[in-house]
């Protein structure tokens, strides 16, 4: 073995230090082990910090029918005058499901291609589900659209993110009319405004309700319950083990 073939230990060590620093800069998902923030925890686990790892795009090949969907979508988007790199931020294949994170300005184009292209044929949209990720600065509010192709018996999922400061996403009612009530529900619960929706009003909460209850900064509420002399606090104030 020659000396040239050996790894450069100094470079390796430098990379390791940098990787460690990058890791330390990541956001903390939770601290401690047993959720005991109030009592003296002498186990040593109280100082534990679990960090939130970044979610990278899945590498090709995605497996299953996902590669074909991505290829056909790329072709369709080119016909529509854009590219998949521009429209789709990242693709995540997780637990056998494909999620395409679409830039919000391209959502309608992507949905149209997915619906109309005969090789894709996602005829059915199964609604909208909002998710609030308070730690994702610049993209706190997500809207998730599960799509189903009856022709090819396939499922994929579209996801768009909008910042809290500008919670706007284009509506999909023009492509999938079924999104009408689902988008109203997502507006009602998350405050996500669907631009172009024919009547974006509250659907589950009363018309004059203040706030958007499914957001993480909205409290659950509740009152303490007395049962045989013992008081049970509302769920929000009970000890949590997150």
């Amino acid at each position: 073995m020659t000396g040239e073939n050996l790894p450069d230990r100094a470079v390796q060590a430098g990379q390791a230090v940098q990787a460690g620093q990058e890791r330390l800069a990541e956001q903390v998902a939770r601290t401690g082990m047993f959720g005991t923030g109030t009592t003296g925890d002498t186990s040593g686990y109280g100082g534990l910090r679990v960090r939130r790892a970044p979610v990278p795009s899945s590498p090709r090949p995605y497996g299953s029918y996902f590669d074909e969907v991505a290829d056909r979508l790329a072709e369709g988007l080119e016909r529509a005058g854009t590219t998949i790199a521009e429209a789709v931020e990242r693709v995540i294949v997780d637990r056998g499901e494909l999620t395409m994170h679409v830039r919000r300005e391209h959502l309608v184009t992507v949905a149209k291609v997915l619906r109309d292209s005969p090789t894709l044929a996602f005829e059915l949209c199964l609604g909208v589900s909002g998710v609030h990720y308070p730690w994702e600065t610049g993209g706190e509010l997500h809207a998730v659209y599960p799509l189903l192709s009856i022709t090819h018996n396939r499922r994929i999922r579209l996801e768009v993110a909008a910042p809290d400061a500008d919670p706007r996403v284009p509506t999909l009612v023009g492509v999938y009319p079924t999104c009408d009530w689902h988008e109203r529900e997502t507006w009602d619960f998350f405050g996500l405004i669907f631009d172009g929706h024919p009547a974006l009003t509250r659907i589950e909460m009363p018309d004059d309700w203040k706030g958007h209850p499914q957001r993480k900064d909205y409290p659950l509420g509740g009152i303490p319950v007395e049962y045989r002399g013992a008081h049970v606090p509302p769920p929000e104030e009970r000890r949590s083990y997150t």
């Binding site: 637990r95 909002g130 499914q214």
Partner: protein
């Protein structure tokens, strides 16, 4: 409200109808048109719970229909974010209260996929899930057809439907301990095995049920009044179903045999023999026929489940996953004060196994952690595709659980089915969709 945007506004204070009519005539608003806006519901016996329909009528013709929902919103999805993953079952079972076992299954399949334990669910638990779901399909369709009959004035149908549903509820009580809101299906399996005597009761049920379904068929299948009220009423074709996202019996009444149990099987449905009934009439009568046929198919599946459950059991045949860090300690037994942990289980954790005690304590107080990520699991409920979108942030509680309830989506189509039709057909249209407001509003 300004006159420019809303037209002229008349304040009606009672006893002044003549003045209002005279004023309207004078103003010449929409001459020749007699428009009447009527609120149907939210408390109305034929709206399947608290559904409000705002009808704009021209004579007896519906020119516009706007459904208003939200009267039964209970914040189940929000509440689930403050409970452990296992406790979530007790919440979601209460959503669509006529098909609780489907809610539980959809949720548990999503949690199990997030945990990556789909392949480790015990065989017997899966068979029990299928058995309970198919029993539930029968009880739900019985309720749908029974209330359908009552809303058209056929009270006998209602009594027959509820009588048969009661038989299913008795079986539920025997197997899960509860008639409704069972929380029987849990992440990792089911809460308990079949009690002694359950198989005999199931066989007895299988013996009487075909004749009971036949009784309902004899009342309705060729009933001229029923046919006149339901044929070519509440028409919605395949294109309408696709664009409005309609699934379930309404979709199958357009001739498309789309059933998730066949097309994307879960819980081992690919190993059962059954067919997907369809009709091609796109109307309320077609949906009724689809539901009747589906009950008969469900009986076939239940029979196969009973055969599998009655077969000779291997020595180790649990109904809950073997992983002690996930499987809720579910060795339950009926005690003096109701159902609770079995004395054998308590003796084991208190006297014999330190690890079992730790697992019991950790699972009951803290719950288990679910790896971060999201998933969407769907099952074919009696009303269509019931999907559960579950998001975990790696903690012991769900970050977000959303249910794509078929009633919610299907109810959107009621305007398309009724506008331009008669007001009496509104009742038929709503009943043929079979919405359950608990599921719509969640």
């Amino acid at each position: 409200m300004s006159a420019e945007t809303e037209g002229r506004v008349y304040n009606v204070g009672g006893q002044d109808w003549d003045e209002v009519v005279a004023a309207a005539d004078e103003a010449g608003d929409r001459p020749g048109e007699e428009r009447l806006v009527v609120n149907m519901g939210p408390q109305h016996p034929s709206t399947h719970g608290v559904l409000r329909l705002i009808l704009t009528l021209d004579g007896e013709t519906v020119t516009e229909l706007r459904p208003v929902i939200g009267y039964l919103h209970t914040g189940i999805e929000k509440n689930m974010e403050f409970r452990t993953w296992t406790q979530g079952v007790t919440f979601c079972t209460r959503m669509d209260y006529l098909s609780p076992l489907f809610n539980e299954t959809a949720y548990c399949l999503a949690v199990e996929r997030l945990l990556g334990i789909e392949a480790e669910i015990p065989r017997r638990a899966t068979v029990l899930r299928v058995l309970m779901m198919e029993l539930n399909r029968i009880s739900s369709h019985m309720m749908a057809i029974g209330t359908f009959g009552m809303e058209l004035g056929a009270t006998t149908v209602f009594l027959y439907g509820l009588r048969e549903r009661e038989k299913v509820l008795d079986l539920f009580e025997l197997i899960s301990g509860l008639r409704m809101n069972h929380a029987y299906i849990r992440p990792g399996g089911v809460s308990q095995d079949l009690p002694p005597g359950a198989l005999e009761r199931l066989r007895e049920f299988l013996g009487v049920m075909p004749a009971q379904i036949g009784e309902l068929r004899a009342l309705l299948d060729a009933n001229p009044v029923y046919l006149r009220r339901t044929r070519n009423v509440a028409y919605l074709d395949l294109a309408g179903c696709m664009s409005l996202g309609i699934t379930g019996p309404v979709l199958r009444s357009t001739g498309l045999p789309w059933d998730l149990r066949k097309s994307q099987p879960y819980c081992g449905y690919e190993t059962y023999e059954f067919s997907v009934p369809t009709q091609d009439t796109c109307d309320a009568f077609g949906r009724y026929l689809v539901r009747m046929d589906e009950m008969e198919e469900s009986l076939k599946i239940i029979e196969q489940c009973v055969d599998r459950l009655a077969a000779k059991r291997p020595p180790h045949d649990p109904v809950m996953i073997d992983d002690a860090k996930i499987g809720w300690p579910a060795q339950l037994a009926v005690g003096a004060d109701g159902l609770g942990n079995s004395p054998a289980h308590i003796a084991k954790i208190m006297g014999q196994s330190m690890e079992a005690l730790i697992h019991h304590f950790k699972l009951v107080t803290e719950g288990f952690r679910v790896p971060a990520g999201q998933t969407y699991a769907a099952v074919e409920s009696p009303r269509g595709e019931l999907g559960c979108h579950a998001v975990s942030d790696g903690g012991t509680r769900p970050h977000r659980v959303h249910f794509r309830d078929p009633s919610f989506t299907n109810l959107q189509s009621v305007s398309a089915m009724t506008e331009g039709g008669m007001i009496a057909d509104v009742i038929v249209a709503v009943a043929s969709i079979d919405p359950v407001m608990g599921g719509v509003d969640r």
